[in-house]
């Protein structure tokens, strides 16, 4: 249950309100590219099984694409369907693009009105208007959320450190992953090592095998962890935590979650 709670808040904000405790992801059509003006298309969804569009789309209002030189890149052809959202990214410059649905400043509030359980999701500014002042058993949580993937045209370039919430960095570039090799990553929380945190990694294609075959690793004191890729494929990497480092006055706790989609190529 511990793991499900943060995902619940996050999913509820990003997707229409019927989404509960589902996994969320971005799925890029390619992550390693050559040539001149190249495009990738990216799908965004939430569902019970990673990369299967069986529940809901993800809203794209927090979409942020950063090009190799730090410039913001605009997505093209955004579309929100029932089960997934889609957008295209044009890669004009050589280097690495970070494609992220990142949100912070969001809150989740729950309280009681008599016997009824009430709740509200939204931006912190909306708290006052939507939550009664002296609500009974009021709990307010701040939410910092990041769902991302990476694509590189030409040579991979270094990624900028994410300053808020959980994020991936380390010695291995996220677009330089090959089956049988061991990737060395660092998970950071607010730019500092995220210590002793469990990381869950699942390969795509779970429909065509009998078990999820999830890989679970734990970060060390320096936030480091290693993954030896058992085979090529698209991998869903996830971690989350709760702490008390809130930046919103009304919030008693902060729920931080992270999802990265990584592509591992054959040798």
């Amino acid at each position: 249950m511990k793991r499900i709670i943060p995902a619940l808040f996050a999913a509820a904000l990003l997707a229409p309100a019927t989404s509960f405790a589902h996994d969320r992801w971005l799925e890029p059509s390619s992550t390693v590219l050559s040539g001149d003006d190249t495009y990738i298309t990216v799908s965004a969804g939430a569902g019970n099984d990673k990369f299967y569009y069986n529940h809901n789309r993800l809203a794209l209002n927090n979409l942020a694409i950063t090009g190799p030189t730090g410039k913001s890149v605009k997505a093209e052809n955004e579309f929100e369907g029932k089960l997934r959202s889609v957008f295209d990214v044009k890669l004009t410059e050589d280097g690495t693009y970070r494609i992220a649905l990142a949100s912070d400043g969001g809150v989740f509030a729950r309280w009681k009105e008599g016997d009824a359980n009430k709740r509200w999701f939204g931006k912190a500014e909306g708290l006052e208007k939507n939550v009664p002042k002296n609500a009974q058993d009021l709990v307010v949580l701040e939410r910092v959320d990041r769902i991302e993937t990476f694509a590189t045209k030409g040579n991979p370039t270094e990624l900028e450190q994410v300053k808020k919430g959980l994020a991936l960095s380390g010695d291995t570039h996220p677009n330089d992953l090959y089956a049988g090799e061991t990737a060395q990553f660092v998970l950071t929380l607010d730019g500092e090592p995220a210590k002793n945190l469990e990381v869950e990694i699942v390969r795509d294609g779970s429909r065509y095998r009998d078990s999820v075959e999830e890989i679970t690793v734990k970060t060390d004191e320096q936030g480091r962890f290693e993954v030896k890729w058992p085979q090529a494929g698209l991998y869903w990497l996830h971690a989350d935590l709760k702490d008390s480092k809130t930046s919103i006055k009304a919030a008693s706790e902060r729920a931080v979650s992270y999802v990265a989609t990584l592509e591992v190529l054959p040798q």
Binding site: V32, L33, S34, G35, D36, T38, T152, G154, N155, P156, D176, Y178, L265, P266, Q267
Partner: protein, 172 residues
């Protein structure tokens, strides 16, 4: 024996070996198999030299559709996955001096003189000659041949899908 500059260079480079060597050259024979499919495209092929620590990488040949308008053929170079990773993606001038057109089924020999930029300043040591082939609407195959430059030796390997027999020989 006429002592050419090439020989001197090779001897200098071959310092680690006891016997002095003449200017070595490298020959790589690549067989592209005949494949019976409804839609056949000639494969993209990359041949390169790589040291065990992957720090030294030298292109020997890259065969791709380099004459397509707007250089569209470059778009699929990343399908030569290991070549793209080890060499292609970090080049400003793609496969400069080693680019060739895609080849038909059959045996093709690439002769590389010791003066060729790929070999001219290659430190003596253990390498692999790697041959990677990737075909549009087809598969991909990689073969690796050991090579102790600049010692005389021949190594070969037999492909199973996108490559036939591949052979590398160093001739003193």
């Amino acid at each position: 024996m006429k002592l050419s500059l090439k020989t001197t260079l090779a001897c200098a480079l071959a310092g680690a070996y006891t016997a002095p060597l003449h200017a070595a050259s490298l020959a790589v024979e690549v067989e592209i198999p005949r494949i019976q499919v409804a839609e056949y495209h000639r494969p993209y092929v990359a041949v390169w030299l790589q040291s065990a620590d992957r720090k030294t990488v030298r292109d020997i040949a890259v065969w791709y559709d380099y004459k397509m308008p707007q250089e569209e053929g470059k778009k699929w170079l990343k399908d030569l996955r290991q070549w793209w990773r080890m060499s292609g993606r970090s080049q400003d001038q793609l496969a400069d001096g080693v680019t060739g057109a895609t080849q038909a089924a059959g045996k093709h020999t690439i002769q590389v003189a010791a003066t060729h930029p790929a070999l001219a300043d290659l430190p003596a040591g253990d390498y692999e000659v790697i041959v990677e082939a990737s075909r549009e609407k087809g598969g991909r195959e990689v073969l690796r041949l050991p090579l102790a430059w600049p010692q005389a030796a021949t190594a070969d390997a037999q492909g199973e899908s996108e490559l036939g027999r591949v052979q590398a020989s160093v001739t003193p």
